[in-house]
């Protein structure tokens, strides 16, 4: 199927813009992933108190005026930063791009909690008199806000919306971009995912009540997927947006191409609000491979979703062992061990950090894997130190989320 597609239906990545807790550009992010540098830090949040989190340090004023930052949301600001960086990275002649042909598709795990918590906190100081509730609340909390802020800032007049897809949202944003390009709904897709989740105390408190929030005296050791001593999720903020184009368009302008989206799949567990279902994850991975006309052994790097929860990691490993039962050429890694769980941005960021492997053939590691959990044993898991491969032709990116939403994206070297 992939080989038979005409170039107008083949979708390629031509630009990457990101902010992660350990890097505000792809080169910086990649360098820190290869060097084993965590971005997780000690963090204080309203009501909940001391915890750990992945915090981004990008320059908000690089692409926004102070008024825009004040007026908008953190998710919107992250999105604006990533969109600008991706467009610049793509090398496209932005001034002369017809902005009505650009689509913006941004995955989010949740949106609006930050602003709602802030407003309730503020009107508490006015005895809950709603006359003091901000008129900015609605434009800040509408679900399309992060994507809409990007269009306002960059004067994009094509379609924009967010995709609410829990922690599969980063992949969902990419998949939406691919589909819209194939449908001819846009000529340039700015897509991926963003997260502002560390700015809501509720996400920390809820994971804590669920027994799924990471705890560790050393923040950099707190995120430890597949490790016997893992205690849960490290919440992170971040963003990663790609510019996607049709291969024909990218070649016509002699664009740099990071890779081609050769397959993808999404499905639903239809099983539980929070617990994953390995068999459905397996089905999702196999569907993406089938669509890419690839065998499991064709995949060089699997970017796992694992978040560091006790049960979630075991269940993903069951799915991984089902697809890759024996040690072969396929290597597996995990980015959350470096940055925590960037929620709506996670899938897009985790893919991005692996893309340079097409060129340098290095699979970055999973760090903090000091005492591997026997139940999380999977062939090819790269622990603590990067591993040099002979070649990297295909990367498969897992992202799963609550309510049983699964997503897989497969990218090929071109």
């Amino acid at each position: 199927m992939v080989a038979q597609r005409p170039d107008q239906q083949r979708i390629v990545i031509t630009g990457v813009g990101l902010t992660a807790p350990n890097g505000d550009s792809l080169p910086e992010f990649r360098a820190n992933l290869l060097a084993g540098r965590s971005g997780v830090v000690a963090y204080e949040t309203r009501y909940f108190g001391s915890t750990v989190a992945g915090v981004c340090n990008y320059d908000e004023l690089r692409h926004q005026r102070r008024k825009e930052v004040r007026r908008g949301t953190r998710a919107g600001s992250v999105g604006v930063y990533c969109a600008h960086e991706a467009i610049a990275d793509s090398g496209i002649d932005w001034e002369n791009v017809d902005k009505s042909t650009v689509g913006v598709y941004v995955g989010v795990t949740e949106h609006g909690n930050v602003e709602t918590e802030n407003e309730i906190y503020l009107i508490k100081g006015y005895d809950y008199d709603t006359k003091f509730w901000s008129h900015h609340h609605n434009p800040r909390t509408v679900a399309n806000n992060p994507a809409g802020e990007i269009t306002l800032n960059l004067k994009i007049t094509g379609p924009h919306y967010t995709l609410g897809a829990a922690c599969a949202a980063g992949n969902a944003g990419i998949i939406q971009g691919v589909q819209m390009l194939r449908l001819g709904e846009c000529d340039l897709a700015v897509c991926g995912g963003v997260s502002e989740s560390i700015h809501t105390f509720g996400i920390f408190a809820s994971f804590s009540s669920q027994g799924a929030l990471a705890r560790h005296d050393n923040p950099q050791k707190a995120s430890r997927p597949f490790d016997r001593d893992r205690t849960g999720i490290v919440v992170a903020e971040g963003g990663c947006l790609y510019t996607l184009e049709r291969l024909s368009d990218a070649r016509a302008r002699d664009a740099k191409i990071y890779g081609e989206i050769v397959g993808y799949a999404m499905n639903s567990d239809a099983h539980d609000f929070v617990l994953p279902l390995p068999e459905r994850q397996t089905q999702c991975i196999r569907l993406a491979l089938d669509r890419a006309e690839l065998n499991p052994d064709d995949i060089d790097i699997v970017s796992t979703h694992a978040t560091g929860t006790v049960s979630g990691d075991v269940q993903e490993c069951q799915a991984l062992r089902d697809v890759w039962p024996e040690s072969g050429r396929t290597l597996l890694n995990n980015t959350k061990s470096f940055i925590g769980h960037a929620m709506g941005a996670a899938g897009a960021l985790e893919l991005a950090g692996n893309l340079p492997a097409f060129a340098d053939r290095v699979c970055h590691a999973t760090i903090n894997l000091d005492n591997p959990d026997p139940e999380c044993e999977v062939p090819g898991l790269v622990a603590n130190q990067p591993r040099q491969g002979d070649r990297v032709d295909y990367i498969l990116n897992n992202s799963f989320g609550m309510l049983g939403i699964n997503s897989v994206v497969v990218v090929g070297r071109i």
């Binding site: 005026r65 008024k67 004040r70 003091f132 901000s134 008129h135 434009p139």
Partner: protein
């Protein structure tokens, strides 16, 4: 509050609402909207900040009186004189 205090209070509010603008050259009798980067949502911020900072409730029909510094100070003087 006397006129100068009210003027400073408005400048303080504007500096928060429109932090990229230079307020040192603000003209008294020219509409804020003509010399600052203000839209209708920003204008509502002036009303909201007066409410929050000074507990002043401005009726909607009086909003046009907050168009310029001169008209705003004139309007607020009797309202804020006891503050």
């Amino acid at each position: 509050m006397i006129a100068d205090d009210i003027r400073q209070a408005i400048v303080d509010i504007l500096s928060d609402i429109t932090p990229d603008d230079d307020l040192t050259e603000l003209k008294e009798d020219v509409a804020f909207a003509e010399q600052l980067d203000l839209d209708s949502m920003d204008f509502l911020d002036i009303v909201m900040e007066l409410r929050k900072r000074y507990r002043i409730q401005i009726p909607e029909e009086d909003y046009p009186k907050l168009a310029s510094m001169k008209s705003t100070v004139e309007y607020l003087e009797p309202v804020m004189k006891e503050l």
